[in-house]
Amino acid sequence: MIFLTVGTQLPFDRFVEIVDNFAATHPEIEIFGQIGEGSYQPKHFEYCAFLDEHAYKAQFDKASLILAHAAMGSIITSLIESKPVVVFPRRASLGEHRNEHQLATCKNFESLDGCYVTYDKAQLLSTLDDVTNLHGGHLGLYANQELLNSIEKFILA
């Protein structure tokens, strides 16, 4: 099962529509989407606007692949759970976010194991067609020791 998430803050119709196109040609693959308050209504997979923490976790746990906008929450959670995450950035130039930080996130996490960055429809669809070759990454639950030490030292100083 594939879990699509575009967060809860803003719609992301362009991404949802591409995933709907993919779903139309792959009826054998189950997909569920948390798609926010967009105007595009998927016809080929189940979706809802928002999931609370528990419902989100339930869908996330069921999924073998995560499809996400380029938000750190989705990327970090996928890496911790060792689920491959295919990332598609929002573009401020298309009115999809307030600035282009999602593009920057993508550029900087391209080489991260388990995180598959795609920049356009063709790249997203070809990555999904190769789905059996995607694998999850690895990440512990906490920040690196350097950061933990520096913050603790500052608090105690």
């Binding site: 967060g7 809860t8 803050q9 923490e53 938000a71 750190m72 929450g73 989705s74 970090i76 959670t77 307030r98 600035n99 930080h101 999602q102 920057a104 996130t105 550029k107 900087n108 990440l139 639950l141 906490y142 920040a143 690196n144 020791q145 350097e146 950061l147 933990l148 030490n149 520096s150 913050i151 603790e152 500052f154 608090i155 105690l156």
Partner: protein, 147 residues
């Protein structure tokens, strides 16, 4: 160490997930959490504030008032935030009451600091970026990251 009071503040989603990655440190102190959504790991000492971003003036005013109340009643020794609007207010107000303040800019901001992160620099005693290329003598420091 438990007697140091920490106020840990972040908006929901990625900011909060990053803040909670500091739990090994936060758990050593008397830490209260503030966010616009509860998330597992924050424990019982949690305060809910309104969800507001830079475009929503009235909600920002409400958020500012809520944060003022929390800072006045909780009197933290340290305020720490990873973003965004609630964290900025918390760091600013924390500084005003003499708390130590920490801003950890989100790892999502790899090419420039977030808007709230830039503004928070004025009020943060420890001003951190998670990207070495964004660190500078007059700007934020790099001292590790949440990954």
């Amino acid at each position: 160490m438990k007697n140091k009071k920490i106020l840990a503040v972040a908006s929901q989603g990625g900011h909060l997930i990053q803040l909670l990655r500091l739990k090994p440190v936060l758990d050593r102190f008397d830490t209260s959490y503030v966010s616009n959504q509860y998330r597992e790991g924050m424990g019982k000492d949690f305060s809910l504030v309104t969800d507001a971003n830079g475009d929503e003036k009235l909600k920002l005013i409400l958020l500012f008032l809520q944060m003022s109340w929390l800072i006045i009643t909780k009197r933290p020794d340290v305020v720490i935030s990873s973003g965004a609007a609630p964290g900025f207010f918390a760091v600013m107000l924390g500084k005003l009451i003499g708390a130590k303040t920490i801003w950890l800019d989100s790892i999502a901001n790899a090419e420039e600091l977030s808007l709230s992160g830039k503004k928070a620099g004025t009020f943060a005693d420890l001003w951190l970026t998670q990207w070495p290329n964004l660190a500078s003598p007059a700007g934020p420091k790099y001292q590790g990251r949440v990954l």
